[in-house]
Symmetry: C2
Subunit: 452 residues, 2 copies
């Protein structure tokens, strides 16, 4: 037979089993946290009509999108979970209850230039709260609490949720008489982390912004400190633009609620340089950075928008949401050695080795273990003892159970703890309890473990 060389496309993550187990542990933690905050899971098709996905258009999207025809249909693969959400809410509007809180975890597709750590197929993990007509500001204050809970439960500690407000920014540019150019300026300022203040100043001046205003912009975006200090600095601009004052009061509200939400000051900062490039954010905006790896950029971003689905409906649907690019985050954490290697990545917690022709006692004990939630394999291949142990060893299965004639005759099982090497002959119920305890112990860690 002529053979085809097996390969996986470049830019597509395909993990080996232990890494996949780590990835699943993160997915499960994300699902749990989102559900815990009362978000309902949603699933939408990966393929949509190209007309729907490209309603907004825009250069990068059109270039990167996977678009094709099947029969007469002009189709495309979703490039994010926001456009499908907009379609979903517009389409099912009358069947939904608002505020509509949903989470969605799914693959999205972007035909980017292949590049280390960049993926063409990747998981996005999104939450959004969508209001019907209006949406209370406290929703914007809850988001940092969720981000905090999310990353804490994954095991991260050294991260910072940076918050800003688009109204505050728009108001500031109004004060400078630059309101018509606010979007363009913010896109330039957004590059601060990457290219530094001198280069930003230069770009602004090249775009025709007066040097004095450019300096004022850089001064404004460099205001730092704890919340109290930032608010003191901002008071200087108060009373000169309604939109500025509104943004300031929203930002105050968000910052004031955070202690109640349990977000420590160390994990939170007001950062006036954040604008988020997207046009549709209108209120609070969020970014999250790893304190020890700011160069990676934001690992969780989002914000408040006023009009989710204007391309599909005349209903006004304001919302607030965040998105995590999990595939890239997972890749980066792996690169940094941040994935907790002490968590069990084996396919099973226990491996039973029957030493007799009759498999019944082995199967019965496997059933007993599985009923306790212990993931169990019965190994029945015709191999030498050493090969069987090597199977358990290679897969890092923590417990091996031997069932020979003696054990069966005595109504016992022999259990080997593969970590300590200790072997015990026990009553089945005692063995099951002991294994269950060991498995629970091994499951205690978090998926992420920062390096000192």
């Amino acid at each position: 037979m002529e053979r085809i060389k097996p390969r996986t496309l470049s830019g597509f993550m395909e993990l080996l089993p232990p890494a996949q187990q780590q990835f699943e542990q993160m997915l499960e933690q994300l699902r749990q946290t989102y559900a815990n905050y009362g978000f309902t899971p949603l699933d939408t098709p990966v393929i949509e009509s190209a007309e729907i996905l490209l309603a907004k258009g825009g250069g990068e999207t059109e270039k990167q999108i996977y678009r094709f025809t099947k029969g007469d249909s002009d189709l495309a693969l979703r490039f994010d979970l926001t456009v499908p959400l907009a379609k979903y809410v517009a389409l099912h509007y009358s069947e939904l209850t608002f505020p509509f809180r949903r989470y969605q975890i799914g693959k999205v597709y972007r035909g980017e230039r292949a590049q280390r750590g960049r993926f063409r197929e990747f998981y996005q993990c999104d939450i959004d709260v969508i209001g019907d007509g209006k949406l209370d500001i406290s929703n914007e204050a809850e988001i940092p609490a969720i981000i905090y809970q999310l990353f804490s439960s994954l095991g991260l500690e050294r991260f910072c949720i940076r918050v800003n407000n688009r109204k505050l920014l728009n108001g500031f540019y109004t004060i400078l008489g630059l309101e018509t150019r606010a979007g363009e300026i913010m896109r330039t300022v957004d590059k601060l982390d990457k290219i530094g203040p001198e280069k930003v100043q230069q770009l602004l001046e090249e775009a025709g912004i007066p040097a004095e205003s450019a300096q004022e912009i850089l001064h404004f975006t460099s205001i730092t400190g704890d919340s109290a200090e930032v608010f003191t600095a901002l008071e200087r601009y108060q009373g000169r633009s309604d939109i500025f004052d509104e943004g300031l009061s929203e930002l105050r509200l968000v910052a004031e609620l955070l202690p109640a939400y349990g977000v420590p000051q160390a994990n939170f900062a007001i950062d006036l340089s954040i604008a988020r490039g997207l046009d549709y954010y209108t209120g609070t905006v969020y970014e999250t950075i790893l304190l020890d790896h700011p160069g990676i950029g934001s690992i969780c971003s989002g914000g408040r928008y006023d009009d989710l689905a204007g391309y599909y409906t005349d209903k006004k649907l304001p919302g607030v949401g965040i998105s995590i690019g999990l595939t890239r985050l997972f890749y980066v954490l792996g690169e940094q050695g941040y994935l907790n290697e002490s968590l069990n990545t084996a396919p099973a917690d226990a491996l039973i080795l029957p030493m007799t022709a009759d498999l019944s006692p082995a199967i019965a004990f496997a059933t007993q273990l599985r009923q306790r939630g212990i993931r169990t394999q019965v190994y029945r291949e015709d191999k030498k003892f050493k090969a069987k142990m090597s199977y358990a060893d290679k897969l890092k299965i923590p417990y091996v159970v031997f069932l020979g004639e003696d054990e069966i005759a005595n109504g016992q099982v022999k259990v080997k703890d593969m970590t300590t090497g200790e072997q015990q002959t026990l009553a089945p119920e005692t063995a099951a309890a002991q294994i269950a305890q060991g498995v629970a112990e091994r499951a205690k860690g978090r998926p992420i473990q920062e390096k000192g």
Copy 2:
């Protein structure tokens, strides 16, 4: 703004939130059962090189596959999870430990003619055990046990796992002198359930099978009864073909192990009419039918194969596996009214209504509930009391918690059980414990509930 009418492509399932919750409950149960039997989760790209996916070729596949180019690449969407598994095992062979037990749950794509209950995007939920060179027969015996456990844990009772063996069939056709036509004959016999014996006999004769042999074939495939009866009937053919005898002994082994595996006789039958259309099965084959709805066809099928990845590697990789088409199964269960409506499909278990401007007590109690795993929302929209209650009502959130000035002053919370209408003012810890108990009670059912 010019608006685009929102729509979802036909043949693509998109569920409303309560139905999505039911779907997720099934997914979660599948994941748990697969993991419990020591299968490791796997995830492979939805997009693969067309050359890889179409290595085997074949008319239906080429017609139905979603294939397109991006840049210079000839790409396609996977149409099952078996071909990606074959590629994965061939590609990562040296990094895997065998037998390799994996489960994969993911979307696959087939551009079929749109038809009620047929989907172009659907979830397949597969398990496979892959051996390196050889694989013990007991793996084939374990599969019905997993199927049984799987559907039992979902709540199904009236289903039957039908088992046959391809060697037995091939041997039988050898005895008739029709071994070169076995594949073709089996594809015709496979239609028995759909078109009946007369039509099958007619098709066989039209294909040039002697009338006598056609009758013998129909007689053979109609052998029924419990396992002992079937084996007695089969003994008549014994000793006339080595391959038949081998198949018979394998089938015996599988049937004999089932009681040890805890599969009741009522959920299991040897059915000699089952061949599974696919060419690559070589040993035990499986189908699973709903006893009250045999017309739906098999809801879980698979079998033993000798050569998983011959298109990609010269390594001999025998295996055994099954596949569930979950999207269609879910649709059918819904149509039959089999989805358990008593399980909670709300986005949250508890809704907290703060009645004061200070949200801190509400947030603190929400945190307390979430720490117990109670999915909790804090409702903060500026609405009338009636609208707030209606929100909880419409979403079927089982508990509403009121936090007014009196409750806060007394260090208490007021809890309303939305099912009974009962209202109690309790200490927070007591309320949390009571809600946790009620939530656990509501989670006790299974996703599927058969109708009498």
